[in-house]
Amino acid sequence: MGYGLREGEDIPDDPIKWAEQQIEKPAPLTWPGHIPTEKELLDHRAVFVYQDRKVIRKKYKNDRKAYKKAKDQLRYETGERYFKALETVIRQHAAVHGDAPVFERIWHFWCNHFAIAEKDMLDRWNTGVYQREIIRPNMCGNFTDLVKKVTTSWTMIHHLDNSQSVSPNSKWGKYDRKKGKTPSVNENHARELLELHTVSPAAGYTQKDVIALSYIMAGWENPHTDKREECNPVKFNANKHEPGSHKVLGQKFKQRGLSAKSKLIDCIEFLCDHPETPKFICRKLVRHFVCDEPTDAMVQPLVDAWHETKGDLPSVYKALIKVVYDNTGAEKKFLNPETWLLQCVRIGGLNWPPSPEDMEYDFKSKPRQKTREPGFIMRELGHDLIAPSQPNGWPETEAEWMSPELLIRRLAFAKKFANDNEIGLFADYFAIARRNFDAGEDVQKYLKKAKDIDFYSNPKRVGQALFSSEWMLKV
């Protein structure tokens, strides 16, 4: 459930306890450099979008070259070419240098479950910090609270267009109609809240449910202002909200107290308590950590833990850890590219990710190649956690990851890692293999074969052979 053992790390006496200790509360990030806050990044975005949309387009309307130059300068000043790489480094540093690899892997799982697709520059400033500030601190509490935080976060609201919703009978909706416009709700967020985040299609909801939920969600927005465009903290705008009560999956939701905000809160609680939600989430967790086609027997302990504790996530993780432990050896999981990469780095003691010095940036010119590299590399490996192409995130199964081109990328990176790093001695790789693999003998034999082939006499090739091997790809 982690990323393998580093040099000097011993196999824990009690692996279950070792893992359980990591998931009680959020682990601290380990990055020694500056870690920007959501406010800071939203300010950068605000400067970029305001200047781009309202100032330089007009100023340089006649001069394409000057426009391009001004836009590049704006990119540098706002870190548009910088923060994405920094977020990758912050995330990977914790996995490589932290003491809670189990926690980190579960964090990556949630980042992908509540995915933010590459859309409207969200990957440049917003997605990374959303993963750090919205998901990470809330993933060791109750699932319902996590969903509430995610659903009402700036990044998810922008990602799924909820600010656009103006419900037909709201104050603004009536005004729109007077003006001859047809007010409408954007269904994206409601649909994904049902389909991807909570109950899943197994709950049998219909388009009617999606629209009812869109009404309930209407009004939750990133307010627009002249100088900052959409870059303002989330608010509930009652003037866009559909009055009255709405039925989702047979359950009626109506306002409690003074604010109609309660409708969404109640509805999220209902969706999280729906019997399909733990079934869906727990199966996905087991699929992520154990095997592509989990049996009911593997999933049930997690579902039971969920019901017993009303969705207390550390209790679910504990059940998961036990299931992973019980199936170790019997079931193997083809690792996704980032997990595989971090495992190579951790057990191989590779020099990755870059240091705070490498990541220093002056906000005046184009970031150095070295500084941007972490962003490029994840893209080349075909797995950028900050920028999946769709709201359903990256795949969870071997069939979807197993393609010739994606395999080649790993083999090429294995070669690059081995070449870039100073583990010069055959003995080191043999020691790494002994420390990390139960099938030690087979691995040793394989590495010896690598060593004995002429063109492999370079010890770095032994590293390449190890990182590319099935023992590293499938754990």
């Binding site: 949309r53 330089i56 387009r57 007009k58 340089y60 309307k61 006649n62 001069d63 394409r64 426009y67 590459e118 859309k119 409207d120 267009d161 269904e187 994206n188 649909r191 994904e192 083809f334 490029f376 893209r379 080349e380 075909g382 920028a387 192409s389 769709q390 709201p391 359903n392 071997e398 069939a399 197993m402 393609s403 010739p404 081109e405 994606l406 395999l407 080649i408 990328r409 083999l411 090429a412 990176f413 294995a414 070669k415 690059k416 070449n419 394989y446 074969k449 690598a450 082939i453 063109f455 492999y456 090739r461 390449q464 052979a465 590319s468 091997s469 099935e470 023992w471 790809l473 499938k474």
Partner: protein, 379 residues
């Protein structure tokens, strides 16, 4: 230059190839016809690419009117940067479907691009793409080559994929050794075998950033009888809200990117260009009237540029709605009188030899689309 390696990495341009392995029984029986889709992201302006001779253009776009256009027909001229397109036209190997669009009028890039790839009606509701479903319907089997798989190609099972990289490729001896660590008969070993069997041209490292190179690799693969049948290019930057310009403007630059891809394809394919269809795809057109920044805002109707020897003739195929305010969609956009999906569905039906009705059902949810094969493609 927008389609290049560096920018692929930053997400602006990319290339995807798709085809069928020789082992496939159906593929072996059918004449190989290639389908190349060039996605133009950001909203390609059909009125800039293929400009109507209508005097109204001078009124609505006084500062960004394209000069130096070349005549196609008495009603339409082509942008001067579309040189290769024009030379294809002269050979009867280029055509245009004008005043067309996917059925989407809400003017959001993200929703629009999602729909242009999924082929559906509700943004993000469909998790597969029309081309992927079309290939699946053709039972041709496929060799997809992309990283990662673009939405438009999702929906066909077990795709192979390819995309050139700057990384050092492992040598064949290295691969054989690595393969010895993979369990016999496992998907991993099977995938490795496909890598080992690849032609040398697909196992080279590429440092060059040139679009020509990408298009040349694509055309080499497409021209092989047992090679890929489908390629997808991805060109960004058509969202010209400012400094759209005329002849040398930003929009013209992007059209030139497309034209360079077309040049490389034509040269690289050689005779196989005659068995090829190259179609553009965009999320929407742009507003008829220019804006305050000498650019244009998001609109609706646009044009599909078509090239290749499988075209019936050089023609502007359109049910022209007119440019007077009363003819415009919401009084501001060129109207779309042809569902662009009719063109794509016809092209897939024609290139993959699957009857139109089946294709429509499998790739476009049985929507009411028109079979245009007879009008647009060679009999």
């Amino acid at each position: 230059m927008t389609v290049n390696r560096r920018e692929f990495i930053t997400g602006l341009g990319s290339l995807t190839l798709l085809g069928s392995p020789i082992f496939n029984a159906r593929a072996a029986k059918l004449k190989k016809k290639n389908l190349v889709v060039v996605m133009l992201r950001g909203g390609m302006d059909g009125l800039t690419a293929i400009q109507p001779t209508d005097r109204r253009m001078e009124e609505v776009r006084p500062d960004i009117l394209v000069t130096g256009t070349k005549k196609l027909t008495s009603d339409f001229n082509v942008h001067p940067r579309l040189e290769s397109f024009l030379s294809c036209w002269k050979e009867g190997k280029a055509a245009v479907v004008h005043a067309t669009s996917i059925p989407y009028t809400m003017r959001s890039h993200f929703d629009g691009q999602n729909l242009m790839e999924s082929g559906g009606h509700t943004p993000y509701a469909d998790k597969t793409g029309w081309l992927g479903r079309g290939i699946e319907a053709s039972e041709l089997g496929s060799l997809a080559v992309s990283l990662p798989m673009p939405l438009v190609l999702r929906g066909n099972l077990n795709p192979d994929n390819y995309y050139p990289t700057w990384m050092d490729m492992p040598q064949s001896a290295e691969m054989r050794l690595i393969n010895s660590s993979y369990s016999e008969g496992s998907p991993l070993a099977h995938t490795m075998q496909r890598v080992i069997n690849r032609p040398v041209s697909m196992m080279q490292r590429f440092d060059d950033n040139d679009a020509h190179l990408l298009a040349r690799v694509a055309s080499q693969e497409l021209s092989r009888e047992d090679g890929p049948r489908v390629a997808v290019f991805d060109i960004g930057g058509f969202d010209t809200h400012a400094a759209q310009g005329g002849e040398d403007g930003e929009h013209g630059e992007r059209l030139a990117d497309y034209d360079k891809v077309l040049t490389a394809l034509k040269e690289g394919l050689g005779d196989a260009f005659d068995d090829t269809l190259v179609l553009t795809l965009t999320e929407f057109g742009r507003k008829v009237e220019q804006n305050g920044g000498y650019g244009t805002e998001h609109g609706y109707g646009t044009a599909i540029l078509m090239a290749g020897g499988l075209l019936k003739e050089a023609q502007i195929y359109a049910d022209w709605p007119g440019l007077k305010t009363k003819h415009l969609y919401e009084r501001q956009d060129l109207n779309a009188t042809i569902d662009a999906r009719s063109v794509y569905c016809s092209a897939m039906s024609y290139c993959f030899d699957v009857d139109f009705k089946t294709m429509k059902t499998k790739a476009f949810f049985g929507d009411d689309l028109e079979d245009l094969s007879g009008r647009l493609f060679k009999a």
